[in-house]
């Protein structure tokens, strides 16, 4: 029906739709497109007054030769690997276990408690963990005391802090990240289990030979989706759990960009680091999108 109308007439007919769309477009323009265009300052010496001077790759050269950047990149990769690779099987195991529960009440209780931390802010979570790990009054050191170990200040201990990040991430996301697997488990046909029952299979055998293979597609999808965000090692978490004693082992790209950019006001240099992260991130996300489309027919968009 619209084919017969000229473009101008169609636009005039749909002017109400453009009006409805306008606020979102204005938002995208101001808070996304303008700042993305503004990233050109990575190639300039930014000046608050007067024109900025084009300096080519100067800031990138500085960045790549800076020892602190190498350290930050290493931290990002290590922390991300812990959170993506090491953490990966945990929600799967959790979902499988929840699936074995026969008591509805227990199942509901376990799920309700396990999803809860996902909705707490990282400030709250950091507060909870700082208190729990406190060397003087925290629960963790109380437990250490019970088995005869001396108290340890986990938050300021360089060899512990990354594990604190891993553990608190697990605490926050174990339950929530298992939802996607639980949903997949509910789609498995009961007839598969019924025939296994006839063959006298044990619960463990059914998990190994039926459930896990049925979950494979979901696992692949989750894993590659996570890879797309590999350079986001968790800004809010690190920002709230970091302190001067451990900064050298937990400083990640995003906290580095913040510190260099907004605290030290090295605008162009910081934006060069942002752009580096953004470019790698873009490649990862596009790669992820294509990989996910191939694996499951479902892309990111």
């Amino acid at each position: 029906m619209s084919g017969a109308m000229s473009l101008g007439a169609r636009i005039r007919r749909d002017r109400m739709l453009y009006l409805l769309l306008a606020p979102a477009l204005a938002y995208f323009a101001v808070f996304h497109l303008v700042p993305i265009a503004g990233m050109v300052m990575a190639f300039q010496d930014y000046r608050i007054v007067g024109p900025s001077r084009f300096v080519g790759l100067k800031h990138f050269k500085l960045l790549f030769s800076s020892p602190s950047f190498a350290e930050v990149l290493r931290n990002t990769l290590v922390i991300s690997s812990m959170k993506i690779i090491l953490f990966f099987p945990l929600p799967i195991a959790f979902a499988l276990m929840v699936n074995e529960l026969r008591s509805r009440a227990l199942r509901k209780f376990v799920q309700a408690t396990a999803y809860l931390p996902h909705f707490l802010s990282w400030v709250v979570i950091a507060g909870v963990w700082i208190a729990f790990l406190s060397p003087s009054s925290g629960g963790m050191n109380k437990l250490r005391g019970l088995v005869g170990l001396a108290p340890l200040d986990y938050m300021t201990d360089k060899s512990s802090i990354r594990w604190v990040l891993f553990a608190s991430e697990t605490w926050r996301s174990l339950g929530w990240d298992s939802i996607i697997y639980l949903a997949a488990l509910m789609r498995i046909s009961p007839s598969l289990y019924e025939s296994a029952d006839l063959d006298g299979a044990s619960a463990l055998q059914k998990t190994w030979y039926i459930t896990l293979p049925e979950l494979r597609a979901t696992m692949v999808t989750v894993f590659i989706l996570n890879l797309g965000f590999f350079l986001n090692a968790g800004f809010d978490q690190v920002f709230n759990m970091m302190n001067d004693s451990v900064i050298s082992v937990v400083d990640i790209l995003d906290t580095y960009v913040y510190r260099i950019g907004l605290l030290n006001m090295q605008y162009s240099f910081s934006t060069a680091a942002s752009l580096f992260k953004g470019a790698i991130g873009l490649i990862l996300i596009l790669g992820t999108h294509l990989a996910s489309k191939r694996a499951s027919g479902k892309g990111l968009w």
């Binding site: 409805l20 376990v110 044990s202």
Partner: protein, 298 residues
């Protein structure tokens, strides 16, 4: 899989799993309950509260009274409520209008707009350029910066679009034939049909705004305008006791001598998570139900 008789070995296996999962729940709950217990304990018995205590020793609301008497703290709650309520209303309004427009099949330029949505989704603007934009449009030291920087979450926009797409096109066309404009169709047909989706997204947006602290920390410099999470960060994470306590003499000398900072910090944490705990049953009801019935989209 249910009706089959289970062997003793299977029962043992399931019992072990049950015990383990209860342990997981305990690990989640104990650190939270411990802070609640500490915050509610009688001041003179606070030393008895260990890191594993989950019930208050004695009972006292002194920490909460101290917080309620602190103008900066009370102010920060109002700021957080403002950001949460106004922010969520703007989120829902702007995204439902846009989602409606973008799901009209005949909209000229639809493809171009969708490309824009994907660009927004995959390209993350740097922190400094965003900061400079906020500065240039005059939103520094204003809670509006905290609200507007996330006026639309593109992922949620797409969820809403999927929802609108499922509304039969014939419903819309029938209304248009009857002389209703698009605005009326959106208000009278689409929004009522999308209420469950809007409620779920509203909860997620709401929790997001309530938990927001970082944008406030870079855009808002006046402590009078701090949201609660930022006050919490100053006090608990950065251990800055002067911003909160130093403002307004709210403690008598006697009270100050009896107070425990740890207990006061615990109370601040409890207050900061309280609204989330209150809406949590609704989240469980709407969201997890939605996930279990349909596909997962975050």
């Amino acid at each position: 899989m249910r009706g089959a008789p289970s062997s003793p070995r299977d029962r043992l296996y399931r019992a072990a799993i049950g015990v383990f999962l209860v342990l997981v729940s305990i690990v989640v709950l104990v650190p939270i309950l411990n802070l609640a217990a500490l915050s509610l304990s009688a001041p003179e018995r606070v030393p008895e509260v260990t890191g594993l205590t989950v019930l208050p020793k004695g009972f006292s609301l002194i920490n909460y009274r101290v917080l309620a008497a602190n103008p900066l703290f009370v102010r920060s709650i109002l700021n957080s409520v403002f950001v949460t309520v106004v922010g969520t209303a703007i989120n829902l309004l702007v995204s439902s209008m846009a989602a409606f427009a973008l799901t009209r099949p005949s909209l000229p330029g639809k493809r171009l707009f969708m490309v824009l949505v994907i660009v927004v989704m995959v390209l993350e603007p740097g922190l400094v350029p965003e900061y400079l934009v906020v500065k240039r449009i005059g939103l520094m030291n204003s809670l509006w910066a905290v609200i507007l920087y996330k006026a639309v979450n593109v992922y949620y926009l797409i969820i809403l679009m999927r929802f609108f797409e499922e509304v039969p096109q014939s419903l819309v066309e029938a209304a248009v034939v009857d002389g209703a404009g698009y605005g009326t169709v959106l208000r009278r047909i689409m929004l009522p049909l999308a209420t469950p989706a809007l409620a779920t997204l509203g909860l997620f947006y709401g929790v997001y705004h309530w938990n927001e602290y970082f944008r406030a920390s870079i855009y808002v410099s006046d402590p009078e305008k701090y949201p609660l999470q930022l006050i919490l960060r100053q006090f608990v994470v950065l251990d800055d006791t002067t911003t909160l306590i130093g403002s307004g003499a709210m403690l008598s000398y006697d009270e100050a001598a009896r107070m425990s900072y740890a207990a006061l910090k615990a109370s601040t944490i409890v207050v900061a998570m309280l609204p989330v705990l209150i809406v949590y049953p609704l989240i469980l009801k709407y969201y997890t139900k939605g996930v279990m019935e349909g596909g997962v989209k975050e």
